[in-house]
Symmetry: C3
Subunit: 201 residues, 3 copies
């Protein structure tokens, strides 16, 4: 099992946990919590694959992603009150998932020979669209559209990866640099409470 695959599964578990928790906060039933967990973890990559025409999507070809998402969501559903202590460490796993998803999504777009901008869009979408679907299903304006640097961290990493790819940098080095940038920006943003400018009314 490659390191990238392992990181991918860690990210999937972290995203599923955040989705399941959102379902619990919205007072959903067991099924709602499962759906939010699965959709948050696999929705971004699935939408990317639909747009690239690579269907059935990754989440259907390797059922590991679905099994992990469902298992994590069940754990969160039944033991979430004993698991408050995990909320803070979860932010770190979530950041790892963010970096990994951006690298996987951008690399896949480049392998499909999309243009510069589309590769960046698909990298960011892989990491963020699951959360957008989670928020839409929860009947809320998606968090990333309102006040997070979340997506900006992804954009920075995706742009760096496409640039390094154009410069023929070694793929592993490029992927690692991009992931580190995403994770670093994300954690710094949490630490310093950064936010993007908002339009003045």
């Amino acid at each position: 099992m490659s390191l990238l695959y392992l990181l991918d599964l860690i990210g999937t578990a972290a995203f599923a946990a955040s989705g399941a928790w959102a379902g619990i906060r919205r007072r959903m039933d067991l099924l709602g919590v499962l759906v939010l967990g699965v959709v948050t973890a696999t929705g971004g990559g699935t939408l990317r694959d639909i747009l690239l025409g690579d269907v059935p999507p990754f989440s259907f070809k390797d059922e590991t992603y679905l099994y992990i998402s469902i298992a994590v969501s069940l754990v969160v559903f039944f033991w979430h009150r004993r698991m408050e202590f995990i909320q803070h460490p979860l932010l770190y796993f979530d950041a790892v998932g963010l970096g990994t998803f951006v690298v996987i999504g951008t690399s896949k777009a480049l392998a499909f020979e999309t243009g510069f901008l589309v590769a960046v869009v698909l990298g960011v979408m892989t990491a963020t669209a699951g959360g957008v679907i989670r928020d839409v299903l929860s009947n809320q304006v998606p968090l990333i559209l309102r006040k997070e640097v979340y997506a900006s961290a992804c954009i920075a990493g995706a742009v760096l990866l496409v640039l390094l790819h154009r410069l023929d940098a070694p793929p592993t080095l490029a992927a690692l640099s991009a992931a580190v940038v995403v994770i670093a920006v994300r954690l710094l943003a949490i630490h310093f409470n950064w936010a993007l400018p908002r339009a003045k009314e």
Copy 2:
């Protein structure tokens, strides 16, 4: 015309009626009622076909589904006040549609040789995703995520169908058993007001 096709059309009409009624309750105009009717009736199968890569989807290849959905939505729009008496029987047609859609969706996934879990997910999605899209367009948290055994009936039927398929049961018998399970669980759930457990806050 096969029995399955006939049941499929009955389910389409019942789902379209429920979608159109949702539009009326939300005070939408004629177009909104039509869109909700069509989307509720055909959205689940269409999403399934997109995910399986079988596009154009069933709803575009055989326009009968669109014509029936539009006709039913028009009838509901113009005569809904004289049709209150149909609300109760509609629950039974809706249950028939639910069972039929689960069988069609799961069988199609199996024909595409997806894994166990994906076949169940696609069977449930075929029967429920139209209602999810209806609720999202109505700006509400999807009903099935909050308090219905609706989806659980679908899961039970889809799991049974995949198991019988694995055991090489005769396809017609397997399909019939799965549909009966979905319909029975659904009607019992309505009768006894069953609900899934909800997370304790």
Copy 3:
């Protein structure tokens, strides 16, 4: 550069501006405004292409659409207070975009040899689905489902185009007639404040 392509880009810019403005009214941050602008401008055609199985979609094959949408959204984000004067003229550009998108979507469906109804649905979807996604992401019931003749103008134009196509009318004449009908109905609807009937509760 053909006239149709030029009109397509004008429509894209107008739709992106309306999406970006919606993001500003909802107090989104820079990223949210960009996403709403891009999605409003390219979402309809992208959904059409997914449903037709023509992926990657037009918006990924020719990045001009993305660059224009992003540029317009940035301009609206930073200078929207100095641009109130453009709100009224924007309605005209928006109507041009509406007519162009209907013609492009319906023609593409006919080229894929869909049925009559599907061609109309895809023409209307090309022009309106971006706005629907914009409203869903803004956590609002889509405007076109509630009180606009917006979609009716599109339906009229799409039906006319399919009919003229069936009658073997010259393609350019058919496209022009359909676009003019959409634009005229749309502008008349704004001027006379037309609305579709709503269901009586």
